[in-house]
């Protein structure tokens, strides 16, 4: 569980996120909904202490500095060493958690081996996303945050990824952000929204409710 207490964030005296307190439940898929510029990525940066903020984020009673190596963020732009091939990137960022053969085996579920041997600068946006997903399987983080993960993925991958994320949530606490609501509708457990510059939990077990994120967005945010 991630406990957030009195979190707020300002940039040069302009308040972006007002005092918010909420809990992200363990081994659940939480989704954060908000328009562009509302502060979704800022929240992720603050959770990872990559930016200064007010308030506290507590991960199972621990500070971020104590559990950093259990966290992983898939950024929207999926940064990798563009001058190296996919396999080499996975070996470098895989932190020796898996052998080279295991990495190849996991990676082949997502990307063609020929492509994995090509430099990442030749990859499409979606292929970079898939490479980042391989990295999740290698590192097996306890806390996984994915920023706009469905962007750039093909239909087939989106279908598969839903199942994969569901299975990951058995062992991981997952926070998602994004705008492609149709992708998230069936997998979201807890729905958080940005409302009046505050982050609030709108609904637990959202996917069981039969509601659609598109409708919630219209109701709560528009």
């Amino acid at each position: 569980m991630i406990q957030c207490t009195n979190f707020s964030k300002s940039y040069s005296n302009k308040c972006i996120i007002e005092k918010s307190s909420f809990e992200i439940r363990e081994n659940k898929i939480s989704f954060l909904m908000g328009p562009n510029g509302s502060g979704k990525t800022t929240l992720i940066k603050c959770m990872m202490e990559m930016e200064k903020y007010n308030g506290d984020f507590i991960f199972e009673g621990k500070n971020i500095s104590q559990i950093r190596d259990k966290c992983m963020v898939l950024w929207d732009d999926c940064p990798f060493y563009m001058n190296l091939n996919g396999i080499k990137n996975l070996i470098i960022f895989g932190e020796n958690k898996k052998s080279k053969n295991e990495i190849k085996e996991i990676a082949s579920n997502y990307l063609d081996y020929g492509l994995l041997r090509r430099k990442v600068k030749t990859y499409s946006y979606g292929q970079k996303k898939k490479l980042a997903l391989v990295l999740v399987e290698i590192l097996e983080p306890k806390y996984l945050i994915m920023d706009e993960i469905s962007n750039g993925l093909d239909y087939e991958m989106i279908r598969i990824l839903k199942k994969i994320i569901k299975s990951w949530s058995k062992d991981m606490t997952i926070l998602l952000t994004g705008h492609q609501f149709s992708f998230y509708n069936d997998i979201v457990d807890d729905l958080f929204v940005f409302k009046n510059k505050q982050i609030t939990l709108l609904k637990e077990n959202f996917s069981d409710s039969g509601e659609k994120l598109e409708d919630v967005y219209d109701e709560e945010i528009c």
Binding site: M48, P79, M82, I92, F93, E95
Partner: protein, 311 residues
């Protein structure tokens, strides 16, 4: 935990071939130094033969002059030598000794003064700037805090510099050994008395000194990489400082390591550095330590304060 991230940095260096490129570059520069010494032996031996012919043609007493002493007076036009045959014999002997397996390693380490600022400066620059260039710092600073990343990167430089130095010395020594065999077949080495030359300090001391020079400039390169986030600008700064700017005197880093270089090395071969300007052991030590400490504090300050999202 830090160990696995140091390994990660080392894996980056290996997989990106940066270590191989730096090692090949340094090996080429080492071999160039050996080749220059080889050429110096050939050229001075040629001058020695010409002088010997002159003595023979003019009926001069070679043995008498070889038993004497020579004087070298430098002037604007080059210089004058009072006893050229002895001068050339002594110079050939000195260069042969420098090329010999007995001294070759010392000569390679002597060249550290001129080569390491550029080579290891580039290594430091690349280690510092690559994660900013590819924005991979965003991935790394999730898994470890920024100060840990700064320390991890600098530790990777410490280990990789050592390995690169050892490997390039071994490769260059083997090449130098082959060059010496070729030299032996071109010149009657036994005619020249190389036994009068001796290294004034232990090879391990020379190695440690050269390694410290490598680390100082890797650290400076790393700090410049952190400041500019760009390896080209940092490279220009290092080249201008080392090869263009003159020795600025007592408080110049160059002056300080020249001071130690003069104590540690004999400079029998083609490598030489100018005499340091009015300095002392304490001043030179303090200058070198200050540069290392200031660089470390500056780069740690930058990595902790700078956002991982700056491009």
């Amino acid at each position: 935990m830090m160990k696995k991230y140091v390994k990660q940095e080392l894996r980056w260096g290996i997989n990106s071939k940066i270590y191989y490129i730096v090692a090949i570059f340094l090996s080429l520069l080492f071999v160039l130094t050996l080749f220059l010494n080889y050429s110096a032996v050939i050229n001075t031996y040629d001058s020695y033969l010409k002088t010997e012919n002159y003595y023979v043609e003019n009926g001069l007493d070679i043995e008498k002059d070889l038993a004497g002493e020579y004087n070298l007076e430098e002037n604007e036009n080059g210089g004058t030598v009072s006893n050229p045959i002895l001068y050339y014999k002594d110079t050939v002997s000195r260069h042969i000794y420098a090329a010999s397996p007995k001294y070759m390693l010392s000569q390679l380490l002597e060249s550290s003064i001129l080569l390491f600022p550029l080579v290891f400066g580039i290594l430091g620059l690349l280690v510092a700037s690559t994660d900013f260039k590819y924005k991979t710092i965003k991935l790394k600073t999730v898994r470890m805090d920024r100060s840990t990343l700064g320390i991890v990167k600098q530790l990777s430089i410490v280990f990789s510099s050592f390995i690169i130095l050892v490997i390039t010395l071994i490769i260059s020594y083997l090449i130098g050994w082959i060059m010496y065999i070729k030299l032996s077949s071109s010149i009657p080495i036994e005619e020249f008395n190389v036994g009068t030359f001796n290294a004034s300090s232990l090879i391990i001391v020379k190695f440690i000194f050269a390694y410290i020079i490598a680390l100082i400039f890797a650290e400076i390169g790393y700090t410049l990489g952190m400041i500019f986030k760009n390896s080209i600008i940092g490279m220009i700064v290092i080249i201008v400082y080392i090869y263009i700017l003159p020795n600025l005197g007592r408080f110049d880093l160059k002056n300080s390591y020249f001071y130690f270089a003069r104590k540690v090395f004999d400079f029998y071969g083609v490598v030489s550095v100018q005499s340091p300007k009015e300095t002392s052991l304490i001043v030179s030590t303090l200058i070198i330590l200050s540069v290392i400490i200031i660089s470390f504090i500056a780069n740690m300050f930058i990595i902790v304060k700078r956002s991982s999202f700056e491009s």
